[in-house]
């Protein structure tokens, strides 16, 4: 359902905040601070809604005979235990810290470690399936920058010619990165303008 009230709110609020950035008047700045404060609260509530929705999905999976998933029990137990402990003691309490250092950190770090294997396998598969000059260049660039990043050229024995070549090599990704960054900024600008003009309404049902 496309609500005209919702569209008016999005356009009105967005234009006020944008104007406050373009014209630094004290009145507009204080309205912007107020709106940003409300937006932070709403973003937190939206995050809470997302988490509660995730909880309800896993709760349903335990109860439903058709799509029963016993692993969801581990989610539910982990969630309830941490949420209650976090709310009773406060999330910054010293007694909560082991949950971060002994559960979150090891799992996150191990998942990142697993990425190494996944990345290498997918790079090899990419080259095996799509043997084009562009995938070859991508792979060559990866190998060159892996060698550069490993630091084997950072010794005193490295010849000045190689050092000069490395300096030039390091410029090339900078140019591409700036182009990609500008492309992302232009895309974001366009998306924001489309929302403020009411052409895109991601908040509608």
């Amino acid at each position: 359902m496309r609500s005209p009230v919702a569209t008016a709110i999005a356009i009105g609020v967005g234009l006020i905040v944008l104007l406050s950035y373009l014209f630094p008047l004290p009145v507009l700045a204080s309205i912007r601070m107020l709106f940003l404060d409300w937006a932070i609260i709403l973003a937190a509530v939206a995050g809470l809604v997302a988490i509660l929705n995730l909880f309800s999905v896993h709760w349903r999976k335990i109860g439903s005979p058709r799509e029963r998933d016993y692993y969801s029990l581990f989610f539910i137990l982990g969630f309830i235990f941490t949420a209650i402990l976090g709310l009773l003691l406060g999330p910054t309490d010293e007694r909560i810290r082991p949950l971060i250092t002994s559960v979150q950190l090891p799992v996150e770090a191990s998942l990142v470690g697993l990425l190494t294997i996944t990345f290498v396998v997918s790079a090899v598969r990419l080259f095996a399936l799509h043997r084009s000059w562009i995938s070859g260049l991508f792979l060559a660039s990866t190998i060159v920058f892996l060698l550069v990043g490993s630091g084997i050229f950072l010794t005193n024995d490295t010849s000045p010619v190689i050092k000069e070549v490395l300096t030039i090599l390091n410029i090339l990704p900078g140019a591409g990165a700036r182009g990609i960054l500008l492309g992302i900024a232009l895309g974001s600008l366009l998306t924001g303008l489309r929302i403020l003009l009411g052409m895109d309404r991601p908040y509608s049902e």
């Binding site: 356009i11 609020v13 232009l186």
Partner: protein
Amino acid sequence: MTDALWSLIAFVLTLAVLSYAIGDNPLFRIAIYTFIGISAGYFAAILIDQVIIPRLITPLLSPSASVGLMAIPLLLSLLLLARLSRRLSFLGSLPMAFLVGVGAAVIINGALFGTLFTQVRAAGLPFTPAQSSPSGWLTGIVLLFGTMTTLVYFQFTGRREPGKGIVRSPWVEWMARIGQVFIAITLGAFFAGVILASLTVLIGRLDFILQSINTLAP
């Protein structure tokens, strides 16, 4: 004793996650489901404790002039909670519109003043008299050329020609081809960076496993 127990938990979880290298298995799934549950619970506690209570509940309970003003975010928050119900979820579109409107304005400001202007200024810096040098000029030209060709690669506007579909002009096509080279080199460099970072983390985990075996073994 407690430290040893937490170390044992970290050790078991590390092994369970790394066991995915040999294929999907129940140990990996238990570790991941537990991890997501704990992360979600912790994130929920942070949201309530660090944002909702100090920014919404406390001002509402305090006897100040801003109480009336705080009724608006309270009302919008209650409407947002209606998203949890399938029948009442349409009520959530009003707070979402507010959030999207503010977000769009912040994104436009960030893209304009945070990225576009600063990057364009940085692209011109090597050519300013204060910083100009032969090597600086060369670097600046390569950077500018690479940036322009990369941007041209993402330009898909062309002329529709019978039997050929949409065709770009020859010079745009050539610039786009050069831009593709810069993009491939850039993504290769990023990929190498990510592999190196994840490899460092993997070595750290393997080192942790070896240390834990040494510590936990009788």
